[in-house]
Each structure stands twice: as structure tokens, then as C-alpha cells.
């Protein structure tokens, strides 16, 4: 038979996939446990109990409960112990799993550590202030204390042995089987999740006074920190402002802007971040157009005079909505998002100065009439942020 036919037949044969028996995961876990590699053991046992046969094995769940306890994961240990009890096959297994579950439920209390703003990363300082007579519970307590010395992201659920504690200088009484929420006061100046954002986008001014102004690209860098439920920030940017001259030519100016924002982040939207904020920035605005006579006296009225573009310092309040994707389960993470800003610029042309004629020539002017300039604007920016 031609080789190609043999190859075709071979490739047509159905693949036989041999799934690892869940007991191999349990055996591997026991090997890891002998070396005190609890994290690896937990991974193997988690695989075992996801197997169709393994999820019915009380010993796999029983071991998983004890390993999770060793890892100071009380909620996970309770869950596994509950499964072990459900799957127990005889009175002795039932007795032992019930005893373990009673221990996990009655010797500990659950605490939900919260902050005023979800996603805040902070150190948790826990000190035991009562006497704990059980060495195993005391070791568990010390393990929890040590694990929380590294910044963690709130909210966070932990289990502590029944007793008295101070948590970030708050006195907390943990009762057997209790379940309570503990708001955490942030240490330091509240600089818990500093967010650095680099943005790029474009905006445009609208209205009769801005018809000659074209969409302007720009870039910003900002820093935001949480204070209570608010997120406040500061930004600095650089913008290019192109404009049409009356001669039909394209000119552009560039300038900086600086501003502040204060906003609120909507809760319970993880992994998305949706934030609304009020902003205020100042920026030298270019292209404030006036009409001047030959003598250099200018005003905003259309006339037969020369059109001249002058500068003015703009005060720009605004409202913005931003949305992004950032992983708050990690103490540090990158995120991306978009921001829509609506603004209203208010500027005054300088009373006198040097403007630009349509042909680009400089022109000394004196502005005698109403020098105010106002225009609504809109900007769309793409944000790349780094939270730490």
C-alpha cells in the first residue's frame, strides 16, 4: 500500500487523550507537602478536585482544606472542608471533617478589610493584644501578620483566630465564628494608589469666535491620588493649535497647559475603571482674532480692518468622563483607557501687544473694545496609566 495511503489512514485515526487520574495530583501534592511546598501542593490538589472523580473524593478536599489553612487562606480552607464533609463516605471521615470544619469556623472570625475606595493598596499592620494559647493558632496568626506586611489591595477578606487585635491602630475584637467589616485607615498621606497617566489626543474649540481654529493635537502627563472617595490629580500638557488665516493659509502655534482635577470613581466596576471628574486648567490660547484698523486699534467686531490673531491666557473649566481597564488585584499595574472632556474656555486678549497678520507679519496693536473670548470645546484622549 502506498505510503501516502498509510499516512492518510494514520492521520484519520481518532486521537486518544489520556487524562491524568486525579490521584496522581493527590500523590504529587503529598510529595510537595513532605517538602513543605504548600503553594505547589495547593495547586496540585486544586487540579485534583476539579477532576470529575476528584471532586467526589473526600480525602482530596480534606487535604486541600488543611493545605489552605497552612497558607493562611481561611475562606478557601473552609470551602474545601465543607466539600470534604459533603463527600465523606463513613462515620470516621465525617467525624474528622466535621472536627476540622468546626475548628475553621469556630476558632476563627472573618474580617473584610475595606477602604473608602476600592483598589487602594496599603500595608496592614496587625498586632495580637490578647493571649493566644494554641501554638498552631498563634503560628497561623504570625503568618497572616507577616503576609500583610507587603502592600495588599483592598477590599480583602482574612481570617484571624478569636482574640483581640489592633489593625492599623484600630482595636478590633474577633469573636469565634464572627463576620465583620473593618474599614482601614490608610497610613501615610493617603498616597496608596498613585496613578501616573500619559495621554494623547485631539480637541477643538467651537463657536463663532473659534471658526478659524482647527482641531488641535496634544499630549498630557498627569498624576492622580485617592483622598477618601475622591481622586485628585494634576496635569501638564503641550498642545499644537493650527488655525486658518484670513488669507487662507495655515498657521500653528504651540503652548503648554496646566490643570487640576477632582473626581469620583464608580465602585464595583472592576476590572473597568469609570471616573467622572471636574477639571480646571490654564493655558495660553492663541488665535484670538480681532479686527484692527490701520492705526492698530483693534476690537472683536468684524470690519474692514485687518484681521489679527493675538494671545490670551485662558481659564478653562471642564467636565470629563474617563473609562479604562486596569487590574486592581495587583499592587502595581498598567492600564489603558479613554477620556472625553468638555470644556469652556474664557480668555481675554492682551490690551496691547504684537499680533500676527494673515501674511504672518507681526503687527503692534492696541485693543480697545471688548477683549473677551469664549468658546466651548471638546477633547478626546487616549490614556495609558501606571498605578503603584
Amino acid at each position: 500500500m502506498a505510503l501516502w495511503m498509510l499516512a492518510a489512514l494514520a492521520s484519520a485515526a481518532p486521537e486518544v487523550v489520556i487524562e491524568a487520574d486525579y490521584r496522581s495530583h493527590v500523590d504529587q501534592a503529598k510529595f510537595f507537602l513532605k517538602k513543605n511546598w504548600y503553594i505547589d501542593a495547593e495547586a496540585q490538589l486544586s487540579l485534583a478536585v476539579t477532576h470529575p472523580d476528584g471532586r467526589l473524593d473526600p480525602e482530596a478536599w480534606f487535604l486541600l482544606a488543611k493545605v489552605r489553612y497552612e497558607l493562611a487562606d481561611l475562606p478557601g480552607a473552609r470551602d474545601a472542608a465543607d466539600h470534604a464533609l459533603t463527600q465523606s463516605r463513613d462515620d470516621e471521615q465525617t467525624r474528622q471533617t466535621q472536627e476540622l470544619l468546626n475548628f475553621l469556623e469556630q476558632r476563627f472570625g472573618s474580617l473584610q478589610l475595606t477602604s473608602s475606595r476600592a483598589g487602594v493598596s496599603t500595608q496592614i499592620d496587625i498586632a495580637l493584644t490578647s493571649v493566644l494559647l494554641d501554638p498552631q493558632l498563634k503560628s497561623y496568626c504570625m503568618q497572616i501578620v507577616k503576609s500583610l506586611m507587603e502592600p495588599v489591595v483592598l477590599p480583602l477578606e482574612i481570617g484571624l483566630p478569636a482574640g483581640s487585635y489592633t489593625i492599623n491602630d484600630q482595636v478590633v475584637q474577633v469573636g469565634s465564628g464572627s463576620d465583620q467589616s473593618v474599614p482601614i485607615t490608610l497610613s501615610g498621606l493617603g498616597l496608596q494608589t498613585t496613578e501616573i497617566t500619559i495621554s494623547g489626543g485631539a480637541g477643538t474649540w467651537m463657536g463663532t469666535q473659534a471658526t478659524h481654529l482647527l482641531p488641535s493635537p496634544g499630549t498630557e502627563i498627569g498624576v492622580h491620588v485617592p483622598f477618601g472617595t475622591w481622586v485628585v490629580g494634576a496635569r501638564a500638557g503641550w498642545w499644537i493649535q493650527p488655525r486658518d488665516t484670513t488669507a487662507g493659509e495655515l498657521h500653528w502655534d504651540s503652548g503648554w497647559s496646566m490643570g487640576l482635577t477632582a473626581g469620583i470613581e464608580l465602585p464595583d466596576t472592576a476590572p473597568f475603571v469609570i471616573r467622572g471628574a471636574a477639571s480646571y486648567r490654564i493655558a495660553p490660547l492663541t488665535g484670538l482674532r480681532g479686527s484692527c484698523d490701520q492705526a492698530g486699534t483693534c476690537g472683536t467686531n468684524d470690519g474692514d480692518g485687518r484681521a489679527v490673531d493675538v494671545h490670551g491666557l485662558g481659564h478653562i473649566p471642564g467636565l470629563e468622563v474617563s473609562t479604562g481597564l486596569i487590574d486592581h488585584s495587583r499592587a502595581q499595574s498598567f492600564g489603558v483607557g479613554m477620556r472625553l472632556v468638555t470644556e469652556y474656555a474664557m480668555a481675554r486678549a492682551a490690551a496691547s501687544g504684537t499680533g500676527s497678520l494673515p501674511n504672518g507679519e507681526s503687527f503692534d496693536y492696541t485693543w480697545t473694545e471688548d477683549r473677551s473670548w469664549q468658546a466651548p470645546g471638546i477633547r478626546v484622549l487616549l490614556d495609558v496609566s501606571f498605578a503603584l
Binding site: 503529598k30 507537602l33 513532605k34 473526600p58 480525602e59 480534606f62 487535604l63 488543611k66 493545605v67 497552612e70 470516621e92 471521615q93 467525624r95 474528622q96 472536627e99 476540622l100 475548628f103 493571649v131 493566644l132 494559647l133 494554641d134 501554638p135 498552631q136 493558632l137 498563634k138 503560628s139 504570625m142
Partner: protein, 362 residues
């Protein structure tokens, strides 16, 4: 009754006491070692199933309602073994109470899966674990320390656990190479320890006046000087000794100072497991007289004079006395084979009674 016994009964001052109440009994088991908690709210006792070589420990109230105490299963189950195949501890005994300020906590010794003995705290896990046998624990009255005997360093040395650092290894207190240190007892101020050094030449009392100091030998007799118990109010130690006659135990008391001479109080007492029971005010001792004709009666011995007064209880075969002051009233717990008019008397049962005001001077 023999005439001599009748005359003896008439000659001995009697005290009217409350009728003892039998509060617990177990078929096939001798109850033993009742021990009051410091505030008298709890009572522990052991049930010794001799045939099965099993000792159960119970903690309950003075009405005999008790719960069996067993070591936590998580202590005996190896992390890698999954479900434990052990049938549970066959021996749990030697309970010592924490002071009342710490609640109803206690420490006891129990056999583990490896068939050696560990100390366990209340409903918790083992403390000061080691591959060798631990036992004979005594909790200091101020609650800060637990002294116990351990074979971890040889034949039985005393160790000290700091309760505030219970997860840390215990500190070795004694290093006698020629003896095992047992029956450790605390002074009322938690400053001193007394114990018995059990050796080939006999059992004798030792004293540690300060936990950081050097031990002193209190007795140097042949025979067995055992079960030291400190006075509740002074640095005095009561103990049993048979150095005069190996067949007879006597009651002695000695000042807890270097060079003090023990003073004989009563000849012929029963050397029971709890040791001499001091009255709450420290002015007398309650002991069991070794008197077969009077069925080992319970008696009060005045500390100063040695005057002995038999307490008229209708129980026989008495032993293992435990006294406590509860709200100004002295309560006595002990075990006995039964009452004088019982048709059958077999296994030891648990009795309690409130001592008459005239027997509990303050």
C-alpha cells in the same frame, strides 16, 4: 464493730459536715483525681478503665455533668496522611487549670498517634511538642508559665513554657542526671517551684526558690517523699513521706527555705494522686487517714498543732481530695468506693460536699 474501733470513734472529735453528694460514676472505671478550677466553677476528673488500659478525662461542673476531653484531631493527623487512622487518644489525664482570670482554660497530657505523650491546651493543639513523653504539667497561679516534666532530654527533666510565647520551645529548668523530676508544684506567688527527684536511692523534694536560681534539696531521706503541695498563702510545702516506715505514709510540712527541717504532722495517711489538700486559708490540711478499720476516713489536720479531726462523711475508701473556696464557702471533691451502707462497693465514684463553716475557718 470492734470495741477498740468504737472507743476510737468516740474519742475522736467529730465535726458535723454536709452530706456528700455522689455526682459521677462510670461502669467499669474508677474515677480519680478530681480537680477544682481556681474559682470553683468547674471540676475535672479522670475515669480509669484498668482492663482496657484507658484513661478518659472529663471537665464539667460540680453536679457531675462533664464533657470528655480529647486532643484535637488536627494535632494528631499528619498533613500528608489525609484522614487519620488513629482511633483517638487512649489516655488523657493530669489536668492543670489556668487561673480564673484566663477563663476555663487548662492543660493536660494525652497519648498521641506515636504513642508518646504530649501536652494539650483546652480544645487546642499540642504545646511544646517533642518526640518524647511530656506530662505532669502545673500552671502557675499568675497564669504566665506552665511547668512540666519531659523526657525529651533524657530521663525526665523539668521544663518551663512562657504562656505569652507558647509557640516557642520550652526552657529547660533541671538537668539532674541521676533522677527524674516529677510532681512539680508552684508556690502561691508563682515565684517558687517544688518537685520530686525520683532516683535509685529514693524520692526526695527539691525547691527552686527563684526561676533563675539554683535548686535546693529539701529532703535527703531514704524512701519516697512525694506529692509536694504549696500552701495557698505561705511559702510552706506539705508532702507525703515514708522514710520512717516504708509501709506507712506520713504527712509532713516544711518551710520553703534553704536548710528548713520538715515537721511531721500526722502518721499514717493515704498517699493519693492529688497530694495533701490545703484549706483555702492555709491553716489546715485535709487528708485521708490510712485507717482500714475506719475505712480510710477524711480528716482535717491543724497546721500549727497537728490536731486531727475526722470529718464525718459516710463514704468509704476515700482518696484524691481537692479543695476550693467558692464565694466564701469551701467545697471538697474526692473519690470513694461508696457509702458505708451501700450493698455493693466496686468502682470509685466522685463525691462533692460543702464543708461546714466550723471546718473552714478564714
Amino acid at each position: 464493730m470492734k470495741r477498740s474501733s468504737l472507743l476510737l470513734l468516740l474519742a475522736t472529735p467529730w465535726l458535723v459536715a454536709a452530706t456528700p453528694t455522689e455526682v459521677a460514676r462510670l461502669d467499669q472505671a474508677n474515677l480519680q483525681r478530681p480537680t477544682w478550677s481556681p474559682d470553683g466553677s468547674r471540676l475535672s476528673w479522670e475515669a480509669n478503665f484498668h482492663q482496657e488500659k484507658r484513661v478518659e478525662l472529663y471537665v464539667g461542673t460540680a453536679d457531675g455533668n462533664g464533657t470528655r476531653v480529647t486532643p484535637s484531631g488536627r494535632a494528631s493527623s499528619s498533613l500528608t496522611a489525609g484522614f487519620s487512622s488513629s482511633a483517638g487518644s487512649k489516655v488523657a489525664h493530669e489536668l492543670t487549670w489556668a487561673p480564673a482570670s484566663m477563663g476555663a482554660e487548662f492543660v493536660y497530657a494525652a497519648a498521641n498517634d506515636a504513642l508518646d505523650y504530649d501536652l494539650y491546651v483546652s480544645a487546642g493543639s499540642a504545646i511544646a511538642q517533642s518526640p518524647a513523653a511530656d506530662g505532669g504539667a502545673a500552671w502557675s497561679p499568675d497564669g504566665s508559665k506552665i511547668a512540666f516534666t519531659s523526657a525529651r532530654s533524657g530521663q525526665g527533666d523539668l521544663y518551663l513554657i512562657d504562656v505569652s510565647k507558647i509557640e516557642q520551645p520550652p526552657r529547660q529548668l533541671t538537668t539532674l542526671r541521676t533522677a527524674s523530676e516529677v510532681y512539680v508544684a508552684w508556690s502561691h506567688d508563682s515565684q517558687m517551684l517544688a518537685w520530686v527527684a525520683h532516683g535509685k536511692t529514693g524520692d526526695n523534694l527539691w525547691l527552686l526558690p527563684k526561676l533563675t536560681g539554683s535548686p535546693l534539696k529539701i529532703t535527703a531521706w531514704a524512701g519516697n517523699q512525694v506529692h509536694p503541695v504549696f500552701s495557698p498563702s505561705a511559702h510552706q510545702i506539705a508532702f507525703y513521706a515514708n522514710h520512717e516506715d516504708i509501709r506507712r505514709n506520713d504527712l509532713y510540712v516544711v518551710d520553703a527555705t534553704d536548710g528548713a527541717q520538715p515537721r511531721l504532722l500526722v502518721r499514717g495517711v493515704v498517699s493519693d494522686a492529688n497530694g495533701p489538700a490545703w484549706s483555702p486559708d492555709g491553716s489546715s490540711l485535709i487528708v485521708v487517714l490510712d485507717d482500714d478499720e475506719r475505712f480510710d476516713p477524711i480528716a482535717r489536720v491543724e497546721l500549727d498543732s497537728g490536731a486531727t479531726t475526722v470529718l464525718r462523711f459516710d463514704t468509704v475508701g476515700n482518696g484524691d481530695l481537692s479543695l476550693v473556696d467558692r464565694d466564701g464557702t469551701t467545697w471538697l471533691a474526692w473519690v470513694a468506693q461508696g457509702r458505708t451502707n451501700d450493698p455493693t462497693r466496686s468502682y470509685d465514684r466522685l463525691f462533692v460536699t460543702q464543708l461546714d463553716a466550723s471546718t473552714s475557718k478564714k
